[in-house]
C-alpha cells in the first residue's frame, strides 16, 4: 500500500513526496458543449468540483465522460463554455501550460526512456536541477512502491508496475489537479481491487483534486467522494456514492448503478399505489409524469411470519434460485407478471431452506427501502 512513510528515518522521510506545496485547486466547468456533427458529446455540462475532492465521472462508453476529461486536460477543444482551475480561466490554455497531472488508459509511458527517464521528464521540462530531479524521481517511485526500479526499461514492467510508473510521472511535479482516464481497466480483477485502495489512499495523502473516469460502477462507489453519472453528454446526477445508490435521480442512474427491480407505480391523491396496493415509503416521491418503485434485491425480505409494521408486502410465486457463492438470487413472479429478484447472503442453512419453483411466497420491503423514482430515462 501507499501508506504514509510513518515514523521513518530522516533520510527516508525526505524521499517521500511532501504534501506541503501541493495545494489543491477547485475546478469549475460551466456550459461546456462539444458536438461532433449532429452528436452532442457534451451537452451544456456544468460541474463544480471542490478543492481536494475525488470526483468520478461514471458512464457507459460513448457517454461523454472521456470527452469531458479531455476538455479538462486540454486535448479536446469544446464549442463553447468556460473552464476554471481556481480563479484562472483555462478553456483556451494549451495542454502543456495547464499544469495538471494525467494518467492515460494506455499508460502512454515513453518506450525509449527508462522508468526514471519517464518520471523525471516533467521535471526536466521545468528545468529542475539534475540532482533534485534524481531525488524527486526516487521519492515518487518510493511513493508508488517502485523504489529501485528507476533503471528498468518500460517493456520490462508488468501491467500493474506500468500503472504505478504512470501515476508516479503524473504526481512527481506536484500538480494541483490529477486526471485519471480509466487507469485500472487493463488490470486483472485482483490487482484492480488492490490498486483502487492504493489510489484512494494516495489521494488522501497528496490531497490533489482528482477527476477519475471509469465505466465500472463498483470502482466508482469504492473510490469517490462524489460521482457524476454521465450519459448522452449530460450529467444525470452528481451525488455521493451512498446517495447515488439509495436515491437515484432517474431510471438511468438506478439501472446503471447496482441491480434493481422496477415496478410501475402511480400517484393516487397523496398516496403512491402499486396495483391498487398503497405503498409506505420513507422519502417523498418526486414530481414526475411517470413513477417507478425501485427495489434493490438485497433489501427485499423473504417473509415467513407476520411482517413488521408498515412493511410493504408482495405476493409472488417462486421461480429458480441461482447460487452465486457468496449470495443467492431468488427470482419471484408477482401477479402482474413482473419478476422481482431477491438477493440473500449464503450462510449455513439459508440456501437449503429456500422455496422451490412454484411455491407461493411473500416478499417484504421496508418503507426506507421503498424508493420511488422518476421513471424517465434521463
Amino acid at each position: 500500500m501507499w501508506q504514509a512513510a510513518g515514523p521513518a528515518t530522516g533520510k527516508e522521510k525526505d524521499r517521500v513526496l511532501s504534501t506541503a506545496n501541493t495545494q489543491a485547486l477547485p475546478i469549475s466547468v460551466s456550459h461546456v458543449t462539444k458536438t461532433y456533427g449532429a452528436v452532442h458529446a457534451l451537452d451544456d455540462v456544468s460541474l463544480e468540483i471542490e478543492s481536494g475532492e475525488f470526483l468520478t465521472l461514471l458512464g457507459p462508453s460513448g457517454s461523454g465522460k472521456t470527452t469531458l476529461l479531455m476538455v479538462l486536460a486540454g486535448f479536446t477543444r469544446p464549442d463553447h463554455g468556460s473552464l476554471k482551475f481556481g480563479d484562472r480561466e483555462v478553456i483556451r490554455t494549451p495542454p502543456h501550460l495547464r499544469d495538471v497531472g494525467m494518467t492515460f488508459q494506455s499508460y502512454a509511458l515513453f518506450p525509449h526512456m527508462s522508468v526514471a527517464g519517464n518520471v523525471g521528464y516533467p521535471l526536466r521540462l521545468r528545468n529542475v536541477p539534475k540532482a533534485e530531479i534524481a531525488e524527486r524521481v526516487a521519492g515518487a517511485l518510493e511513493t508508488v512502491q517502485l523504489g529501485g526500479f528507476g533503471e528498468r526499461r518500460i517493456d520490462q514492467l508488468s501491467g500493474g508496475q506500468r500503472q504505478r510508473v504512470a501515476v508516479a510521472r503524473a504526481i512527481v511535479f506536484e500538480p494541483r489537479i490529477l486526471l485519471m482516464d480509466e487507469p485500472l481497466s487493463a488490470l486483472d480483477k485482483k490487482l484492480r481491487d488492490q490498486m483502487q485502495i492504493e489510489l484512494r489512499s494516495l489521494h488522501e495523502k497528496l490531497g490533489m483534486t482528482t477527476v477519475y473516469v471509469t465505466h465500472d460502477q463498483r470502482e466508482a462507489l469504492t473510490m469517490s467522494d462524489r460521482i457524476a453519472v454521465v450519459n448522452h453528454g449530460r450529467i444525470m446526477q452528481l451525488a455521493t456514492p451512498r446517495d447515488l445508490y439509495e436515491k437515484p435521480a432517474n431510471r438511468f442512474v438506478a439501472d446503471f448503478i447496482g441491480d434493481s427491480t422496477f415496478l410501475p407505480v402511480t400517484r393516487r391523491g397523496q398516496q403512491i399505489v402499486f396495483e391498487d396496493q398503497p405503498l409506505n415509503h420513507a422519502a417523498p416521491a418526486p414530481e414526475a409524469p411517470s413513477l417507478l418503485l425501485m427495489a434493490r434485491p438485497e433489501r427485499i425480505h423473504l417473509l415467513t411470519g407476520t411482517p413488521q409494521e408498515r412493511m410493504n408486502t408482495f405476493e409472488a410465486v417462486a421461480q429458480q434460485v441461482i447460487y452465486q457463492g457468496d449470495s443467492y438470487l431468488l427470482n419471484a413472479q408477482l401477479h402482474n407478471g413482473e419478476i422481482m429478484s431477491l438477493r440473500g447472503a449464503v450462510r449455513q442453512g439459508t440456501v437449503d431452506g429456500l422455496p422451490s419453483e412454484g411455491d407461493r411466497i411473500r416478499l417484504g420491503l421496508a418503507p426506507e427501502d421503498t424508493v420511488i423514482i422518476d421513471g424517465r430515462e434521463s
Binding site: P94, A108, P122, K190
Partner: protein, 307 residues
C-alpha cells in the same frame, strides 16, 4: 506487486513417462518436413537465379584477359585513379540523394501520418503513383522539364527568377533531382508506417507533462520515428549505390557511377572480368554497410517498418 509466488508445481510424479512420446515425436518431425516441402520451390529458385549467378560472377572476376586466374581486375581498380573517382562519385551521389530524401520525405511522412486515415491513404496513393509509371518515362520527363529550353527554365525566366537558362541537366543537379524523385517513396513508406504506429497518447502525455509541441516532437516523436528513418534511409542509400538508368540519362556522362562503369566495361571493352570485379566490390560494400547498419537496427524493419 505481481503475484510471482504461485508455488512451482511438480509435473514429474504421477504421469507415466513416455506415454505416446514416440508418436508425438514422429508427428513433430513430419510437420517440419511438410514445412520444408512447402518452401522447397522457393529455395530452388533462389539457388538457380541467385546463388549460381553470383558464384559465377565471383569466378569471372578472377579471370584475366588471357583466360587464366589473375587479380588484374582488382589491381586495376586500385592503380587507376579514374576508378577511385567513380567510387567517390557513387558514394557522394548516394549520400546526397539520401540526405535530400530525408529532408523532403520526413516532413511529408509526418504530415501524412497526422492526417485522418482515409485522407492519408489517398495521399499515399499519390506518393505511390510514380511506381506505376516506367522508370525510364519518369527520367526522360525530367530531361524534358530541366533542359535548357525546358519548362522549368522557361518559367523561371518569364517570372524573372533568373535571366539566362540554368544548366540543370547533364550534371550533378539533374542527377540528384531525378534520383530524389525516384527514391522518395522508398523512404516515405517505412517512415510513414513507423510514424503511424506511434500512439497519439505519447504526444498527449508529453504535452500534459509540460512539453511545448516543439519539445514534444524532439523528445518523443522523433526518437520513436528513428527506426523507420534508419530503415528508409538505408534502403534509399543501397538502391542508389547500384542505380543506373536515372544517373546515366540525367548525368549525361558527366556523373559516372559504378553501375555505369560496369556497363561501359561490357559494352565498350567487352571485358566481363573487369565488370564482374566491379560488381563484386559493389556487392561486398553493400553487404558491409548492411552489416554495420544491422548493429544499429533490426533488419526486418526495413521490409516491414513499425516495431
Amino acid at each position: 506487486m505481481q503475484a510471482a509466488d504461485t508455488p512451482q508445481r511438480s509435473y514429474e510424479t504421477p504421469v507415466p513417462s513416455g506415454m505416446n512420446a514416440a508418436g508425438l515425436r514422429r508427428d513433430a518431425r513430419l510437420e517440419r518436413l511438410k514445412l520444408f516441402g512447402l518452401s522447397s520451390p522457393a529455395l530452388l529458385l533462389v539457388l538457380v537465379i541467385l546463388v549460381i549467378p553470383v558464384g559465377w560472377l565471383f569466378y569471372v572476376s578472377f579471370i584475366g584477359a588471357n583466360g587464366q586466374f589473375s587479380l588484374e581486375n582488382y589491381e586495376r581498380m586500385i592503380t587507376r585513379k579514374s576508378y577511385a573517382r567513380i567510387f567517390v562519385t557513387t558514394f557522394q551521389v548516394s549520400l546526397l540523394t539520401t540526405g535530400l530524401c530525408i529532408l523532403i520525405g520526413y516532413p511529408l511522412a509526418y504530415f501524412l501520418s497526422q492526417l485522418p486515415s482515409r485522407l492519408a491513404s489517398l495521399c499515399l496513393i499519390t506518393v505511390l503513383l510514380p511506381f506505376w509509371t516506367s522508370l525510364l518515362v519518369r527520367t526522360y520527363a525530367w530531361l524534358v522539364l530541366l533542359q535548357k529550353r525546358g519548362l522549368v527554365n522557361d518559367w523561371g525566366i518569364s517570372l524573372g527568377l533568373w535571366e539566362e537558362p540554368i544548366k540543370m541537366v547533364h550534371n550533378m543537379t539533374g542527377t540528384l533531382i531525378g534520383m530524389v524523385h525516384i527514391m522518395l517513396p522508398f523512404l516515405i513508406l517505412p517512415l510513414y508506417s513507423t510514424m503511424k504506429s506511434i500512439n497519439r497518447d505519447y504526444m498527449n502525455a508529453a504535452a500534459n507533462l509540460g512539453a511545448s509541441p516543439r519539445r514534444a516532437f524532439w523528445n518523443v516523436f522523433f526518437p520513436l520515428s528513428t527506426p523507420g528513418l534508419f530503415a528508409g534511409s538505408l534502403m534509399v542509400f543501397i538502391l542508389c549505390l547500384g542505380f543506373f538508368v536515372t544517373p546515366a540519362v540525367l548525368g549525361g556522362g558527366r556523373v559516372i557511377m559504378v553501375s555505369m562503369q560496369i556497363v561501359s566495361n561490357i559494352e565498350l571493352f567487352v571485358n566481363w572480368g573487369a565488370a564482374s570485379a566491379l560488381g563484386v566490390v559493389l556487392l561486398v560494400l553493400t553487404m558491409a554497410i548492411l552489416w554495420i547498419a544491422s548493429r544499429f537496427l533490426r533488419l526486418d524493419q526495413i521490409a516491414g517498418g513499425g516495431h
